[in-house]
Structure formats: C-alpha cells, structure tokens
Amino acid sequence: MRYASQRVAYPYFAVALLLFGLQMVFGLLMAAKYLGPDPLIDVLPFDRAKAIHTNLLIVWLLVGFMGGAYWVVPEESRTELWSPRLAYFNLALFTAAGVVAVVGYLFGWTAGNKLLEQPLPIKLVIVVVMVLFALNLIMTIWRARRLTTTEGVLVAGLLLAAVLYLPALIEFDNYTVAAVYRWWTVHLWVEGVWEMIQAGLLAFLLIRLSGVDREVMEKWLYVIVGLTFISGVLGTAHHYYWLGVPGYWLPIGSFFSALEPLVFLGMAMYAYYAIRRSGLAHPNRLALHWTIGSTVFSALGAGVLGLAHTWAGVNKWTHGTHITSMHGHMAFFGAYVMIVLAMVTYALPGLTGSRDEDRENGVGLWAFWLQSGGMFGMTMAFAAAGMTQTYLERILGIGYLDTQAKLQVHFIMLVITGSIFVLGVALFLWDFFFLAGRPVTAASQARPPGAAAVRA
C-alpha cells in the first residue's frame, strides 16, 4: 500500500463480500424452488427471492468496483484520496440503502421492474451515493493533476454508470417504451460502461502483475473500449426485438451484438500478450488466477454464450427461456465477479500488511477452482435446461408446466453444481475474513517503515 488512504478499500471489499455471501443463500433457495413443491411459498415466494438475488449482485458488484477504484486511483494519480471520510460515509449510506431495499423486498416493498426493483426513495439515495463517489474521485485526480488512461477508463466507466442510472428514474405509461428505456440502464451498464470498468481494472492488474509496458497496454485499451461501444450501443437492440419496436432493430441488433465477442476476445488476447511478454512470475499467484480467469470466463460466458442466442432468428425461439440464465450467470461471473475478486485478491496483502509471498494460497486456490468449476457446471445445467425448454415448449408446443416437469434432472444438476460454487464462495470469504489477517489501521501505518508493509 503506497498511500495510506487506499485503506478505505478494505471495508468496501468486506461489505461487498458479505453481500456476495448473502446473494448465494437466495440463489440456492431459488434453485431448490425449481424442484418444487416449495414449502416457503407463503413466506418467501420465488419472486421476492429473485429480486433479492439480483439486487444483491448489483449492489455488491458496485461496492466492489468502488473499493477497486479507491485502491487504483490514488496509485495511478500518485496522491492521497481527497476525502477518506466521505468514502466511509458513502459506504455506510450505500450499505444502509441496500439493506433497507432487501428487507423491503422481503415484505413486498418493490417497484416490480426487472433488475430495477428499487423503490423510488432508494433509487434517489443511490444517485446521491454515486454523485458523492464521483466527486471524491474527481477531486482526487484534480488535485494531483495526473490522469492515466487506465484510471481514466475506470473512472469514466463509473461516472457513465451513474449517468445511465437516470433513465431508470423516469416512468412511462406505455410498457413498451418503459422496457426500451429500462435497457438504457441495464444493457448499457452490463454491456457498455461496466465493461469499461472491467477493462480499466484488467489493464491495471495486468500492468501490475506482469510488468508489461504501460504504453502498449493503454493503446490497446482504447481499441477494446472503442469496440465495446461500437458493438454495445447499437447492440442494445438485441433486447428490443420483440418489445413492440420497428422492424429495423432486428437486423441492427443482430449484426452489432454479434460483434460483442470481439471485445472479450480482445481482453483475452490482452492478457495472453501480457503473460507471453512477462510470464507468470508475480508472487501473488491468486490474483493472477482471478485476472486470467476473468478474461477466459467472460470470453466464454459473455462472448460465446451471448453470441449463441443474440441473432434475431435464433432469439425468436430462445427468448425468455433458460438459455438466458445460462448466458447471464457465466457472463456476470466472468466479467464482473471475477474481476472484483481479482482486485480484492491483488490488494489484500497490502491492505492487511502482509507480503505477497507470505499469503497462504491453498484455501484461496480452492476458492478459485470450486467457483470456476461450480459456475461451469451451473452454466451447463442451465444450457441443457434451456435447450430442452426451447425444443419442447417453443418448437413442439408442449405446455410450460409440462415442460418444466421434464427439466427436473437439469434442476437437480443446478442444485449440485450451485452448491459447489457456494462452497467456493464460502472459502473465499473465510480466507478474506479469517486467514488474511486484520486490516492495516492508521496506528499500525504510523509505525516506522519495516514494521508495517510499505510496498513499492
């Protein structure tokens, strides 16, 4: 840790991981509900569990991104953070809003709009949090008068994420129009500005982990982000196809979203190039695993599996089936979960004042492989369920409920592989909270160099 204020990343990561753990509880519950009958149908029906599962994901990833940014920005701009106190306040506010929202969902307080279930007061608090967060980063960079391309991409991604949340605040009487603008937030987040955040964090990690030349990396970062927007902005149309929009969106959405895998191919090549140049010599092997893992899983999950059903002629049959769950789970895991875990793993030795070489790797590696294997299995279970559903329900015309009964074996696989995944998450949390050591405090940082880990 070069700058004392990077310390604020620790509570961000801690909150993010706790919410990640909670998200798993609801995920497993939902998988079990697919097997039915559901003994909790009157206490916690599927719809509430799902709203909580997806909202926790969004909140903890955002908290993780913010923690990552608080680690990266001081280091890139070579300065202390403008206001650590504001950062702590922001975290408390965001966490409180998140907890209130989750408890609210349990009791049916919801806006009932997919992925944007947050009731209006919660949405407004989120806007405030994002504005304050942006203010803190901008003031830090402004004071240092130093902005690298890597952090520029990361910060621009976070700022645009805040701006693109605004369409979610508007209400439309026409459901079709509302659905179109809902995608301005949801799609342009996950297939636009969040990819910027991923690319920024990835560039930072690769530069640090492999020591590869910054000039080259940042040049290609422009190309990757350029491809993200060329494919992603017009690619929004692949969500429009059947909403009641003009027909020209079908070929446009098909063509441009088919380019989206190029972004992930670019990131994978990026990582490959960095390793070719400098090898895997960095002592933080765990962070290397998660970083490379992120490029592989996002290329597969977001790239290949997204491409699998993005063409309008295919999507016509697969739209609204488990094919979407297949793509969604691996894409989110690869692109966003793994990059946040990579950032956490990379920063953890610094945050806890230990040396990379001394970090126990066994539990961490098990966490990595159980999560990777579990997610691969879950994706396969969803894929089998989705293909069967498409064939039986959409092509042969067998009723929805009768088809679901025939998918039971895939849901059993989902519960098993999901449990493996959750075990991996539990190990990651155990490693973070119990094995990694206590976080560095202001007092321990004040000790003379050598006692605390001041690493170059």
């Binding site: 719809d47 709009n113 190309v223 902005v233 909403l243 929805y400």
Partner: protein, 271 residues
C-alpha cells in the same frame, strides 16, 4: 496502430454509434403509437400496469419474453384465455393449479375486483402489441400440443381453400386461440373440454333433456357454442363459474360469418 489512431478509433466509433442509436430511437418514438396501439392506452390499462409492478409479477413470469423463468409467459395470455377465465383465475389460482399436480402454484395475489379488471385490461393491451411475430408459436401454460392437438404447425393461411382445411388453420391460429384450451385428442381435457368426437357428441347433446339452446342439428350446436358459449354450459372448475361459461364470448365479432362456417366445418369432422 499508433496510440493516436487507437484513440481516434475509440472516439469516432463511439460517436457514430451513439449518433445512429439516438436517431433511430427518435424514429422509433414516431412509430410507437401505431405499434403499441397507444389510442387504447386507457387509464385502466395504466392502472393495470401499476398492479403488474406492485405485485412483482415480473420476478416469476415473463411478459414480452422479459422477466423470470419460474412461471409461464403472459404476452398473449389475454388472447389465449379470455377475460372471464382470467378473472376467475386471479381470484384464486389454487382452484386451477396445484403444486402436487403441476409442480408450481401461484400464490394468491389478493387483488380487488377493480385491480383484476385493470390487470386484465393491461394484459389485453399487451397481447395486441405488434411484437414482430413473437412468439412464433403459441406458448401454452399446461397441456400439450401432442398427441393430436397439432398446435402451431399450421399458419392461419391454409394449404388449400377447402373449408375444413381453412377451419383447421383457424382452430390452430394464435388469433383465435382455440387450440390453447381445447385438445382434439380423446380424453385430453385442457382448460376447456376436449373436442375429440364433438361432431358426434353434439348430436347427442341437443337431444338430451337438459339442453335449452336453439340448435336443431350438430352443426348448429357447434356454431352456437362458438358465438354464444353461455347457451349451453358444461360444469367444471376451468369450464364455467356460477352457470356462466369461462370461454371468451368475442368470436361473433372476432371472426367473419364465413370463418365461423369454416370452423364449424372442421369441428364437424371430429367424430
């Protein structure tokens, strides 16, 4: 590629994409009123949309294919099931489905009569949105197109101009929705009774003592059942409620007299 050209690629590519995207969005707004029948967007439809959101329906069901995959898609449900059926269903879903039999059950949404009216108005409006032909075949809730029901294979335009073939195409078409509730396989009762053998059964029914309709022959009985489902009501939880049939009563206006003739001709062949 130099750093400068990489940066130029990013700025120009992004700017062009955003420009095209915004221009097409503006053009879409020009077309939304037609594509979504904005003229029919009554206060009741909007109120129904609010019920849809307040009850978190989208986190189990899909609508326009968007939502969760725990319950059936409802895009065309108003066309497939009709007003009367949906009203009874929404009052108490457990009368129609059970966890033991179907694996899933919808919790009672506890809606007032007004909320039910609004929700059905919303779903009816949704079912008429021009969805570019989606879904390509009707998505059924329960039951099956096999054996015998032959759903989805035939498009509304039939292969010949034989009235029976035209009637069969109509029976399977999404616009009529007949096949979504009636199987033509013997003994397969979906939401509505099976129509296997209806051509023969109609004859017996008008001769039975409890028949109070106006039909005098089998074809007349079938025609009467289509245009006025309440003329003779079958008892059954999903068939009728309080002596009133749950079948949509709009076929008189939905179909031309010629089309009704074709349907009758087709159903008369089921003996």
């Amino acid at each position: 590629m130099t750093r400068r050209s990489a940066r130029r690629f990013f700025y120009i590519g992004t700017a062009l994409s955003v420009l095209v995207f915004v221009a097409l969005t503006i053009d879409s707004h020009r077309q939304f009123p037609t594509l979504t029948n904005e003229a029919d967007l009554t206060p009741s439809v909007v109120a129904g949309k609010n019920v849809w959101h307040a009850k978190n329906c989208i986190n189990c069901h899909t609508i326009l294919g968007e939502g969760a995959y725990y319950a059936p898609d409802l895009t065309k449900i108003a066309q497939l099931r009709g007003d009367a059926y949906l009203r009874e269903f929404l009052k108490d879903p457990s009368r129609f489905y059970s966890e033991e039999r179907d694996g899933r059950l919808m919790p009672n949404p506890n809606l007032s009569d007004q909320e039910i009216t609004d929700l059905i108005a919303f779903l009816t409006w949704v079912s008429r949105i021009d969805t570019q032909g989606w879904p390509p075949r009707p998505i059924l809730v329960r039951g099956s197109a096999i054996p015998g029901a032959n759903i989805g294979g035939a498009a509304p335009a039939a292969a010949s101009d034989d009235p029976v073939a035209l009637g069969q195409a109509l029976f399977n078409a999404q616009t009529t929705g007949c096949a979504a509730c009636h199987s033509i396989a013997p003994g397969v009762n979906l939401v509505g009774p099976t129509l296997a053998g209806i051509g023969a059964r109609a004859e017996e029914r008008i001769r039975a003592g409890d028949y109070g309709g106006k039909a005098t022959d089998a074809a007349g009985y079938i025609r009467e059942s289509i245009v006025d489902p309440n003329a003779y009501v079958l008892t059954g939880v999903t068939y009728s409620s309080g002596g009133r049939s749950l079948m949509p009563a709009h076929y008189n206006t939905l179909l031309t007299p010629e089309q009704i003739d074709q349907l009758v001709a087709y159903l008369m062949t089921l003996k």
